[in-house]
């Protein structure tokens, strides 16, 4: 067998072709990585349109999330593939008195939730501006969600929640984001995109 040897340090150095071959390889790797990130983003950020003409709400929610409209909310979507607490985005409408302030609504939510969930803890309350320049109130809170079946031994989940409350035409539109506290930060961008695309 003929063996071509190139002993010791390369006396001839890297050829132009070899150098360009390397550059093309690195360039391809970078492009491929960008494609991969883009594929990931387009998959993770894929959305489905929802529209409720009665409530006057249009939204884009994450693809692959379970939607249901059969509760005391306009609609709710949940990520069933999430471990722990199933990440939830919910839009509800509550009637408010003409003289009610956001504080009254927050108090009503706090009173109701503290009766229904364990260790309900309001964390912060602050005014925010939505992407369409409307004023809203952001209410952060946390609570503990036990398992839903008493015959199983599920570890309770600590749930972090965020309500965006907008007063409009005698109603309070409450946009809620609920996530397992461990994944709250990583899931938050999903909610942010949802909120930016929400029309009501």
């Amino acid at each position: 067998m003929a063996v071509i040897e190139i002993g010791g340090a390369s006396q001839s150095g890297i050829t132009q072709r070899q150098r360009w071959g390397h550059y093309f390889a690195v360039f391809y790797a970078a492009i491929a990585l960008l494609i991969g990130i883009n594929l990931r983003d387009s998959s993770v950020n894929a959305v489905v349109a929802y529209s409720n003409t009665t409530a006057g709400i249009r939204a884009l929610y994450p693809r692959g999330w379970l939607i249901d409209t059969d509760g005391d909310y306009v609609f709710r979507v949940r990520d069933l593939s999430a471990g722990g607490y199933k990440t939830t985005i919910q839009v509800a409408i509550e009637p408010v008195a003409p003289t009610a302030s956001s504080r009254n609504i927050v108090d009503a939510l706090t009173l109701a939730r503290s009766q229904r969930v364990a260790a309900y803890t309001p964390l912060s309350r602050s005014p925010i501006s939505l992407s369409d320049e409307r004023e809203a109130l952001a209410l952060e809170y946390a609570y503990v969600e036990p398992g839903d079946n008493v015959f199983l031994s599920a570890i309770p989940n600590v749930v972090s929640g965020l309500d965006i409350i907008v007063l409009q035409r005698g109603q309070a539109i409450i946009i809620s984001f609920l996530s397992d506290s461990d994944t709250y930060d990583s899931n938050y961008p999903v909610f942010q995109r949802f909120l930016d695309a929400l029309v009501f």
Partner: protein, 303 residues
């Protein structure tokens, strides 16, 4: 510069450059066959014959399985280099740097940024292949390529099979990092699962590394198109990207009323078939290229 360790008794044979370097293909084949055999034996003992090792020994045996490819390589390849007239240098360096790069850069990047577990499992088959190719595949093979390119490219590629030897070292390093990470993440994994997983990681990385080695060797010793390395890199990434979802899809359970059980042997068999198929193909390509160069050299000499 290599110094002959010992002269061969047959000076004619010694003069043949082919005998001055350790034969990598045979060593690689033996190592992988032993590895597959060991994993198969463990699977048969634990899963089929239900020979359960003592619980206290399982972590030790699991670590042993993870270290086994490294040990085989050290014994059959690295130590064997010492008996060669022209031993290859820095094999262990390549192994270590690849393992470190994988552990420190590539794997955290995959988990933290690409997050394949978050989106790929729910995609359909085609999208999973594309997704894996352009995420895990490209990251994995690029890491190995860059380590090889910047550690051994200039000085240590003397013959084509040097590329194979160093690519194998890099692949084992990457696989070692993967296996260690698997063991840490799944401390309760049974021995048969560890064995199969170790072998599958090693084999898959070797498959990609073989394509990388082909690209490196051709770029170094021939004058291929400047895109040849890119194509090899893409091919390696594609093979990894295709294999992973196909294999897990084959392993994945089918629903039945008695239970939904995975089929690890199917995945194992697929990996074995893939590796030996690629090995045969790449070996064939190497020998074809060398035969062509031999013929060219003869033609030049004959002129």
């Amino acid at each position: 510069m290599s110094v002959p360790r010992q002269a061969l008794l047959d000076p004619i044979r010694e003069a043949d450059p082919a005998n001055r370097y350790r034969r990598v293909w045979s060593a690689l084949t033996v190592e992988v066959v032993i590895l597959f055999g060991a994993a198969g034996l463990v699977f048969i003992l634990v899963d089929i014959l239900r020979v359960a090792p003592p619980t206290a020994l399982v972590p030790v045996l699991s670590v042993g399985m993870v270290v086994l490819p490294l040990l085989l390589w050290l014994l059959l390849s690295v130590l064997a280099e010492r008996r060669a007239i022209e031993p290859r240098q820095r094999l262990i360096v390549v192994f270590v740097i690849t393992a470190l790069a994988a552990n420190a850069i590539t794997l955290p990047f995959i988990e933290g940024v690409l997050q394949p577990g978050r989106w790929l499992p729910l995609e359909d088959a085609i999208n999973r292949i594309i997704g894996y190719t352009f995420s895990i595949g490209i990251m994995q093979e690029t890491t190995k390529y860059l380590v090889l390119r910047y550690t051994i490219w200039q000085d240590l590629l003397r013959i084509r099979t040097d590329a194979v030897a160093y690519s194998v070292a890099s692949a084992l390093g990457y696989a070692f990092a993967l296996n260690i990470q698997f063991l840490i993440a799944n401390p309760g994994a049974s021995l048969d699962v560890v064995a199969l997983r170790v072998v599958e990681n090693v084999a898959l990385n070797l498959v990609g590394a073989l394509f990388i080695s082909l690209g490196l060797a051709e770029t170094r010793f021939s004058t291929p198109s400047p895109f040849f390395m890119t194509i090899m890199l893409a091919l390696a990434a594609f093979v990894v990207g295709t294999t992973q979802p196909l294999q897990s899809g084959l392993v994945n359970a089918i629903f039945s009323v008695r239970g939904v059980f995975d089929r690890p042997l199917v995945g194992f068999g697929f990996t074995a078939a893939l590796f030996f198929g690629v090995l045969a193909m790449v070996t064939f390509l190497y020998s074809a290229i060398e035969r062509r160069e031999r013929d060219l050299a003869k033609t030049k000499d004959g002129r």
